[in-house]
Symmetry: C2
Subunit: 366 residues, 2 copies
């Protein structure tokens, strides 16, 4: 003879209170302050809740009242399977998720793909019920960053853009890490070097999405800071060794496909057949390039040195010479910065350490 478990009207805290003839406060306390009532009453309340199908305080109503949404927003301005095709990005998200879990916070994905209008995307940012935002690796001129800022919530930028006044950031010193790597390559004796980069700007260069040699103008466009810094790191090393900029052939891979590295390598080697080392700004590019070289019968490192960046598991397993960056830790730090903001109230920049790995893919030129 038990009553229907799902009355037409959804159970609320108030209806539970009425049913049990106690005040709403008491019900609220049962869920939020167990020490404020007898465990006996508390048990009765939970029993009644179960019986009425009351799932506990409504999260939205609670958020309105407490002024805390209980979630952080992760803003990514690329298609997800695009961003997440890089294990480094994935590790970052895992780290962020971990720190959110610890803080009892949710993680709201605000992924704005390229086939949405800026209006729609902005609406998504404005509609996100969150206590703060993590902006993941956005372009300097990302149209949604201003919208995020408009919400007057805590924001942490990851990697890029750099130097946004008032925003905390976690990243690494891309330039000097890449410089050290390039010094290693130059130190081995390489004088003609190819550098394969991920996209340098939001729009494809010269209207094509195929890998292409990046001209100086493209290199100076104010778009993706991280890639630019890594390129500059190589130039730093060249300059320090007294080499001209001409010894470097930069090829931009606009698309991020599994085969992009190989395609870019091809372009670089065609542009300058004397290249003896291919540096890559991402391990995924380097691994793909290596596959491609193998297909062409070019032996690594005997005939060609290859280096990467990131230190993803696959790369380490294959002995790639690369820079390991703590991707997961980046996520954790970003979360922590949001959940436990610095007491000063001032924005903070956290630069994490990287490690140069001299693997089995770099050696003296043939």
């Amino acid at each position: 003879m038990s009553r229907s478990p799902h009355p037409r009207r959804r159970a609320t805290l108030a209806s539970l209170a009425a049913e049990l003839k106690v005040s709403r406060t008491t019900i609220s306390n049962a869920y939020n302050r167990p020490d404020q009532l007898s465990s006996d009453l508390r048990d009765r309340i939970f029993a009644a809740a179960k019986q009425l199908g009351y799932p506990g305080p409504d999260p939205v109503a609670r958020s309105l009242r407490t002024r805390r949404a209980g979630a952080v927003g992760l803003m990514i301005t690329e298609p997800l399977n695009y961003s997440f095709s890089d294990p480094a990005a994935l590790d970052f998200v895992a780290g962020l998720a971990e720190s959110c879990e610890e803080a009892g916070q949710g993680l709201l994905l605000v992924a704005i793909g390229p086939n949405r209008s800026v209006e729609d995307g902005s609406a998504a940012v404005l509609a996100a019920g969150v206590d703060g935002f993590v902006v993941y690796s956005a372009s300097d001129d990302d149209p949604y960053l201003p919208v995020v800022q408009q919400r007057h919530l805590p924001v942490v930028v990851v990697d890029q853009p750099k130097d946004v006044p008032g925003l905390s950031r976690v990243g690494i010193d891309d330039r000097s890490a890449m410089r050290r790597l390039a010094e290693h390559v130059v130190g081995l004796g390489h004088r003609q070097i190819g550098l394969l980069t991920m996209r340098l700007g939001m729009e494809p260069p010269n209207g094509t999405v195929k890998p292409a040699v990046a001209d100086p103008q493209r290199l100076s466009t104010p778009h993706f800071h991280v890639q630019r810094e890594r390129v500059n790191g190589v130039y730093d090393a060249l300059a320090a060794a007294g080499l001209s900029r001409g010894s470097l052939t930069v090829v931009e891979s606009y698309e991020h496909l599994p085969s992009s590295g190989g395609a870019a390598a091809e372009v670089a080697l065609n542009a300058n057949p004397r290249i003896t080392a291919l540096m890559c700004t991402a391990d995924v590019l380097a691994l793909s390039a290596m596959d491609h070289l193998r297909g062409r019968g070019i032996y690594v490192p005997g005939q060609m040195t290859v280096t990467g960046f990131d230190g993803i598991p696959d790369a380490l397993r294959r002995g790639l010479t690369t820079v390991v960056q703590p991707s997961m830790d980046k996520g954790r730090r970003a979360g922590r910065l949001l959940h436990h903001p610095p007491r000063s109230g001032l924005p903070e920049v956290e630069l994490l350490d990287t490690e140069l790995i001299r693997g089995r893919t770099s050696g003296p030129p043939a």
Copy 2:
């Protein structure tokens, strides 16, 4: 002489109304029903909003009022970098994200890692401000599924668990897809077959996380339906060909590491050196197994047939014989089921099509 852009008290819809001496409705209309007021007034309102730093209606308050949270929850009971190490899972999320974008909904990740108490995890489910849940590939006895159900929100299960009364599901016919694949392998003449599976249960078998031969008891534990169905599909094919169950050696890979497939292959070949075909319930396992075989100097398909499951890009590129399943579409459908529930109100099961790809990794036994 403009006033401070950030008054101590955050601007609200009401304060804007007061400032402009119009009613709150009018402000609300400016944001939600542009046709309900002169565009002139609307512009004035937006100008004032900008000036006061009002970012538009508070999402939480709006949600409370409209009874719509504007987000769906994606529940994953594994560490993210674990789940997402499989490109198929990633594509699924991308598809789901796409459909959420279309519907103007957010996507809240409810990722409950293994090092949280069930209590904490349940709290996360209960605290999620969402309009519905997608449960991704959970075990039959996932402790959080009942908690999700307790919220009385629409739920869509992806892949597993199967046959939860009242819940919609999107998946594929794992058993018959695997059966067809096995028929292909058996048809080629293989009589001693190894089958490498992902984890079959939440707890490690016999307390070890290393790949191990799965005994009949392990195979009948009520845990991960999908793996079980795929195993059964192989048995179906064997039975149809008049082969005994003994011709199949099942090895469970509890961990999902990049090298797991190779390790499992090793276990299978040691358990039965006469194996001439290695079937795998996931492409990631198959690819790793192939790498391992190459290392051991075993030629594929000449000396060993290898098959996968999923149809991830890497697998197709390498010519793996496999079953292609529409992972991204699964995500889209799951989202659509949530955003546009069937008019009948009844739960719906959508089984998507799969395609058998006879690649370059299967051939007659040596």
